[in-house]
Assembly symmetry: C2
Homo-oligomer: 284 residues x 2
């Protein structure tokens, strides 16, 4: 019988991906990490049966989670990534010349190990600016002494070890750990699964309470449930839709040439929220 990977959301709605074979399977202290060779998406990583990335579509998630925040900050030097063990977010962040140090705090070494073995194009783990720490992200953020310019929350779904990354307390710690022009981004799941895994409203309201500027934006990730994926951005001073930000994006021609999804139009257009998405995050 042909092998398939099946992930269900929204009762029995789901995604099926044809597989060639299982390449990696390890139950870590935290979760089950698996890598499959697929028919048409390159290698695919799942955690506890949920898609994390495929080689063919990872560019969407990683570019959109990184560049919107990185360009919103006028000169990001110190970057913190919470989670992001596959290395894709760090790879994108490191494309910005201003960056001096990227601290990536991944709770589970197994994710990094699997990525190094089976996603050679995703991580840039040899980059001397990248510092990988295997620690609990929440504890790490609570104890930060030297502030960061950009914090990116690149956690998995709000079940299992990433659950705390959707709580207001955590975002308060992040606020405290951000520099004056600090910008934060977090992945907040799909609006279409909000009733099953409440994330968007919770995170957006937390950010809206804590930060002077907070917004949601969208991108399309084919192997994530329903395809429409939301991300939140918040900052102390800098508006991601400011003309200066858009000019900065448009002026970064070399960086943009390496990208497959993000561009100046996409930066602005991603903030156009359909009515039903606005309703989810509206304060009541």
């Amino acid at each position: 019988m042909p092998l398939t990977y099946n992930e269900y959301y929204n009762e029995r709605t789901g995604l099926t991906v044809g597989l060639k074979k299982l390449l990696f399977s390890k139950q870590s202290e935290y979760q089950l990490v698996e890598v499959f060779e697929t028919d048409s998406w390159g290698n695919l990583m799942t955690i506890d049966g949920m898609v994390m990335l495929s080689e063919k579509d990872e560019f969407v998630y990683h570019e959109m989670l990184s560049h919107v925040a990185m360009f919103t900050h006028p000169e990001p030097k110190r970057i913190l990534i919470i989670g992001g063990g596959d290395g894709g977010t760090a790879r994108e962040v490191l494309k910005h010349d201003s960056v001096e140090q990227v601290d990536m705090v991944e709770i589970d070494k197994t994710v990094v190990e699997a990525s190094k073995l089976y996603f050679p194009g995703v991580g840039d783990f040899e980059n001397p600016k990248l510092n990988v720490l295997y620690e609990d992200g929440i504890t790490f953020v609570k104890n930060i002494k030297v502030p960061y310019d950009v914090i990116i929350i690149d956690g998995s779904d709000p079940v299992g070890p990433a659950e705390g990354l959707f709580e207001k307390d955590f975002y308060q710690f992040c606020y405290n750990a951000l520099s004056e022009n600090g910008v934060l981004t977090s992945q907040t799941e799909s609006p279409w699964v909000e009733s099953y895994y409440p994330s968007m409203k919770k995170v957006f309201h937390a950010l809206n309470d804590l930060f002077p500027i907070s917004k949601m934006y969208l991108s399309y990730i084919p192997l994530y449930p329903a395809g429409m994926w939301s991300m939140a951005i918040a900052s102390k001073k800098k508006n991601p839709l400011d003309d200066k930000v858009i000019d900065r994006v448009a002026g970064s021609k070399n960086l943009l040439q390496s990208l497959e999804y993000y561009n100046p139009d996409v930066h602005s257009g991603a903030f156009a929220l359909p009515n039903f998405v606005r309703k989810i995050i509206d304060k009541e």
Copy 2:
């Protein structure tokens, strides 16, 4: 064994939807039309095993296929819909006060029959401005004597009876059948399945050759393959991104209140194409 509906694209990548029961199944002269009651998407219509619409997500496709073109025209009176047998596109078009006549040319009466029975919220078939004709759309367009202000191509996938709706000859007939300020829109499949069902590039280039103005835009439809769906718009004179158009959208408060997806931000934002989508339609 629990019932599921499975649609595969891109080799063995696919969508699974949990079903309660089959409500309708009829092999018409053209295709197999089926309606299922699903777990979480309301009723679902498929044609030859491909999702056409569900009650829960149809608003995205119908709003985005209709209103971008309808607002681009300054005063659309005579509207032609090719296909669109479920009635959802006509329902959206009829929300515009300027509309005097909507001719909907659907080749397959079975689609209308299934919609009337199982999608009571989708069609507005009793509206006196709506004129349903059961004819071949291509032959109809070839013989048009009185021009239309807006033509909307709401066909199914480019296999089976809708295949001709992706050909340049057809768009030449449409051009001839449009009034001076005429606007045309067509659904052009997902950029993620372009290599399997070439549609976007073919239609965009046909429109680009024929019309002074042609653009592609995107929306997110959870039950369509990969979620990211493209549509093409072309016109003789009117640019969908003109300030006058955006003002017209923003000023239509009553109409906008009835919508779940489309709004002025979405109108503009939908035209922001990711780099990999731009590459698909770039002339070579």
